[in-house]
């Protein structure tokens, strides 16, 4: 099939990356592909992706799963003989693909306009504030709001049922967007690729790859050994996040209690471990980006910062919230709860289906789709 070259795609895509603009310098030696420990026959990257970009083959880019197969160890960029920065290209492509999968067009706006992103965050924060002020109760006298164990009776301030309702509403909406986007991804990666016919059974045989890759990020570990701590921290951060998310969204009743449990109580223990995981991870990544310590933190798109900063603020307010609650500081708890939600909700709303958070879902699914395709191809060859 003939495809028309699109010389403008390059400029469009530059907005999704930082102004590093030297992908055109690539002279196709193939060093990056061969350096990458994750490439294998059938999924060659990053050189081919650079090629598609240079020639503006939009269809090729939109239908490739390869950007998600890369965990950005940065070896390719380090050893690139022309400093064409293939690693950062893969990063930018992930942003670009996020906007391709998103049918609402919001992702593209967020990724290409800083102002739009900030404005969205502010608007959502304001909505959260209005709702919170309407549906919660401001603690007046001190004593009435404190339990026997000295902790704040938090469910009196923000009854878990009401919050839970909000959680479900939000989670449901976001899940809808995310799932439709993943459907879009499936259309792009599998359906539009006419070269493979995927038998239905392949979806079942490969289903474990989603789960495994989601919970272990084991492919990341195949990257260069220098990145071991990076992988550990990244995984820990992700698992902590998932833990907290699960507790808050699905088990709020158990998580948000009026009584202060002892420290070894699973509720507090799990909470602390996850918080540490989150906090250490965020600090580590922020530090990396400030110091530009690694190949993958040399260039930061503003959306990278938004994600980290919002996550940081959410975590910090969460910690404060906990501190105020167990110490019976009811009013402080009320206010911190508000701020916590004002950070958390816009973060999730923007990030989950439209921005960086989505890689949590896209990456394992892309690996899944790639595996499905691979097994289908294998069968095709055998036939």
């Amino acid at each position: 099939m003939k495809e028309r070259i699109d010389p403008n795609l390059y400029n469009d895509l530059e907005k999704f990356g930082i102004d590093v603009g030297n992908w055109n310098e690539c002279y196709h030696c193939g060093n990056c592909t061969a350096t990458c420990p994750l490439t294998e026959k059938g999924s060659l990257f990053p050189r081919k992706e650079i090629r598609f970009l240079q020639l503006g083959l939009k269809n090729e880019l939109a239908t490739s799963a390869e950007p998600w197969l890369c965990y950005y160890c940065g070896d390719c960029s380090k050893k690139c003989p022309r400093d064409a920065n293939p690693g950062e290209l893969m990063m930018s492509l992930r942003r670009y693909l996020t906007s391709i999968y998103d049918w609402t067009g919001l992702a593209k706006r967020i990724y290409t306009s800083k102002i739009f992103e900030i404005a969205t965050i502010l608007v959502i924060s304001l909505i959260v504030m209005v709702l919170y002020l309407n549906f919660t109760f401001f603690p007046s006298g001190e004593g009435a709001w404190t339990g026997n164990d000295g902790g704040v009776l938090i469910n009196k301030i923000a009854p878990w049922k009401r919050i839970h309702f909000g959680d479900w509403l939000m989670a449901g909406t976001l899940a809808f967007f995310l799932i439709t986007n993943i459907f879009n991804m499936w259309l792009n990666i599998i359906v539009k690729d006419k070269s493979v016919k995927v038998p239905f059974i392949a979806y079942f045989t490969e289903v474990f790859s989603v789960v495994i890759n989601f919970f272990t990020q084991k492919r990341f570990n195949k990257c260069d050994n220098d990145n071991k701590p990076y992988w550990v921290i990244h995984l820990f951060l992700m698992l902590s996040y998932v833990m907290l998310f699960t507790m808050i969204v699905f088990f709020l009743q158990w998580f948000q209690t009026d009584s202060v449990h002892p420290v070894w109580h699973p509720q507090r223990l799990l909470g602390y471990i996850s918080t540490i995981g989150l906090f250490v991870g965020i600090i580590y990544f922020i530090n990396n980006r400030i110091k530009k310590a690694k190949e993958n933190s040399k260039y930061s798109h503003y959306t990278d910062w938004t994600f980290l900063v919002m996550l940081f603020l959410t975590t910090l307010t969460g910690i404060l919230l906990h501190f105020f609650r167990i110490n019976g500081m009811a009013q402080a708890t009320y206010i911190t709860y508000l701020i916590h939600l004002m950070c958390l909700v816009p973060m999730l709303t923007i990030e989950v289906p439209f921005s960086k958070w989505s890689h949590l879902a896209y990456r394992p699914f892309a690996i899944y789709f790639a595996n499905v395709k691979k097994s289908a191809l294998k069968k095709q060859v055998k036939l």
Partner: protein, 601 residues
């Protein structure tokens, strides 16, 4: 006389934080005073990307001619030609003043740059206005470096009946070419074609061959250079040595042979290689036990000629006077160990191309048999005749070349010599698998493309894709490379990898350039006077460059350049004059000459 044309001078300022560059504001100040110059534009305040803006400016200023001045002003020239066309002016009235073209690079060259700009403004070719002065010239010539370029230049001048001093640092002339087994694309053996020339140098009555010597200092001026040459102690008398080699038999000290790229051992007393010129022995002071610690001296006792070996010999210094100097100091190969991913130095059977040249050579460590290294009792990995034959060999191009981390430039010869080595492997081991990994195949010379096709038909696997790394696995080498044209990633097991190392300026290139007062490019190669029309003269009068020291080149190009350098010298001998550099000219002289010429034209 031509009609007056209002001229705009555009300064293309490409300085990016470098400090030692020509002083553009000073030049602008100077140029303003030239009549006809209506306006000065500067790239800092005047973007060239909007042609319409330029058109407006030309129209409003009634400009009829534009001079673009800068290091490489040609890069923006066509913006202005188009603007001139759109204004209805003659596009040929866009004139360049390229500072770098005439070697004006540093702050000290500002005067030269002024002259270049002035000539362009006056419409006079710079070469016609800047005619260098001449000194009376001494008829003798010094050639530094005894590689093929130095040999060629020396013979050329000596054949014209003039005296040449050929100074060579090592014990023999021949340079790198003598180390090669075959030469591409004709595959004739390097020694067969080179050694007759070497012998001719050794026997030529007009050539004073000074091997094992180094140029220490140069003073004086073009046409009359006083050169101090250090004659390193050879300890063996060149006149009486009969070349019997008994001393070598007795010498107890073993050192790796430089000539064999350290694939074999030589003694502390040695002849660099059997066809060396002069074919006489010498003692390497760094390794001789007697010279170092006054022990041994066996060679003296063994030598059948009385007083031939004198271990008390001291270095000497001689001074000669010459009119012209040709620098042909050549190159060194890129140190492959710098690229850790290929494991050179770590895996024994990862070798450089130069080592492999010696391996396939009939006088190399295995008498020309291609063998893998084997470990001896001491644990050293060596090439021996008893070694195993490799079943598969990979050649990897562009080692240290075309890479911003190492050398940005292309080394020009590696593609072709790799093809040649692939052929040699196929010839000697027809059953073996040979792989070549390349980026762009640069087979550009006469007969080269045909050679490339021939090697392809011989069954060598020529793969587009630079090898990323070599690892060791199960006693074999495992190489990883993309096979771009087959949409595949290769994890190839091989027995031996040959790294096609690039060429680099010699480590003492800087010292030599300072001693001689000639400039170097960013890459470290010596800089020619004009990259198009004069690649042999330098920024200093009476000093020419030839061969790879000017930039990588293959043998025919090096030979042609050496002869061209000799032409300059012979011309100067015939006329009895040596041209000084244009940099010695006074700005006023150039200017007045240019004005004079512009009146004539």
């Amino acid at each position: 006389m031509s009609e007056k044309k209002l001229t705009a001078v555009f300064f293309c300022d490409t300085r990016n934080g470098q400090t030692d560059t020509v002083d553009i504001p000073a030049i602008a100040e100077y140029v303003k005073k030239i009549p006809d110059v209506a306006v000065i534009w500067d790239s800092k305040t005047f973007p060239t990307s909007y042609i319409n803006k330029i058109v407006r400016k030309i129209k409003s200023g009634n400009i009829k001619r534009i001079v673009i001045a800068g290091d490489m002003p040609g890069l923006v020239k066509n913006t202005f030609t188009k603007a001139m066309y759109l204004c209805g002016n003659n596009p040929k009235d866009v004139i360049l003043a390229s500072f770098k073209e005439y070697g004006a690079v540093t702050k000290a060259d500002t005067e030269c740059a002024k002259a270049i700009t002035a000539c362009s403004v006056l419409g006079i070719p710079f070469e016609l206005a800047a005619v260098p002065d001449e000194n009376p010239g001494h008829p003798e010539t010094l050639v530094i470096g005894g590689g093929i370029a130095g040999i060629q230049a020396s013979l050329e001048i000596a054949d014209s009946g003039n005296k040449v001093y050929l100074v060579e640092r090592t014990g023999t002339i021949g340079g790198h070419m003598a180390m090669f087994d075959k030469t591409f694309p004709t595959l004739d053996c390097a020694a067969c074609i080179l050694t007759p020339k070497m012998v001719e140098v050794g026997q030529h009555q007009n050539i004073e061959l000074m091997t094992y010597c180094e140029v220490k200092n140069i003073s004086g001026e073009p046409g009359n250079y006083k050169v101090k040459i250090l004659k390193k102690a050879r300890f063996v008398n060149l006149a009486t040595c009969i070349g019997c080699g008994i001393c070598v038999e007795k010498c107890p000290t073993l050192v790796p042979s430089e000539f064999d790229s350290k694939t074999t051992m030589r003694k502390a007393v040695y002849i660099p290689f059997p066809q060396a010129v002069p074919n006489k022995y010498l003692i390497d002071a760094e390794n001789c036990r007697y010279v170092k610690e006054k022990k041994c001296g066996v060679c003296v006792k063994a030598c059948p000629v009385n007083l031939c070996i004198n271990l008390e010999e001291k270095d000497e210094e001689v001074e000669i006077t010459v009119g012209n100097i040709i620098v042909a100091t050549g190159f060194k190969i890129f140190d492959a160990a710098k690229m850790e991913q290929y494991g050179y130095g770590k895996f024994p059977n990862v070798v450089t191309s130069l080592e492999f040249e010696r391996l396939v050579n009939a006088s190399g460590p295995t008498e020309g048999k291609i063998k893998l290294k084997t470990q001896n009792k001491k644990g050293n990995w060596l090439f021996t005749k008893e070694g195993k034959e490799p079943q598969s060999i990979a050649l990897i191009h562009c080692i240290g070349s075309r890479d911003i981390h190492y050398n940005k430039y292309c080394s020009r010869v590696c593609c072709m010599y790799s093809l040649k080595l692939a052929h040699l492997v196929k010839e000697k081991l027809p059953e073996s698998q040979v792989y070549e990994f390349f980026i762009d195949m640069r087979a550009f010379g006469k007969g080269y493309e045909e050679f490339y096709k021939r090697i392809e038909h011989e069954g060598v696997h020529i793969i587009r894709g630079r090898t990323a790394q070599i690892e060791e696995k199960d006693g074999q080498l495992l190489l990883r490379s993309e096979d771009m044209l087959n949409d595949d990633i290769l994890e190839q097991k091989i027995d031996m990898a040959i790294l096609a190392v690039g060429l680099e300026p010699r480590e003492d290139a800087d010292a030599i350039s300072k001693m001689l007062g000639i400039s170097r490019t960013e890459d470290g190669w010596f800089m020619e006077a004009n990259s198009n029309s004069d690649t042999v003269t330098t920024s200093k009068g009476g000093i020419s460059i030839a061969g790879v020291c000017q930039g990588p080149k293959d043998i025919p190009d090096a030979v042609a350049q050496a002869s061209a350098a000799a032409a300059r010298v012979i011309q100067s001998i015939i006329t009895g004059k040596v041209k000084k550099s244009i940099k010695n000219l006074q700005l006023e002289n150039i200017e007045s000459k240019a004005k004079q010429l512009s009146n004539v034209i």
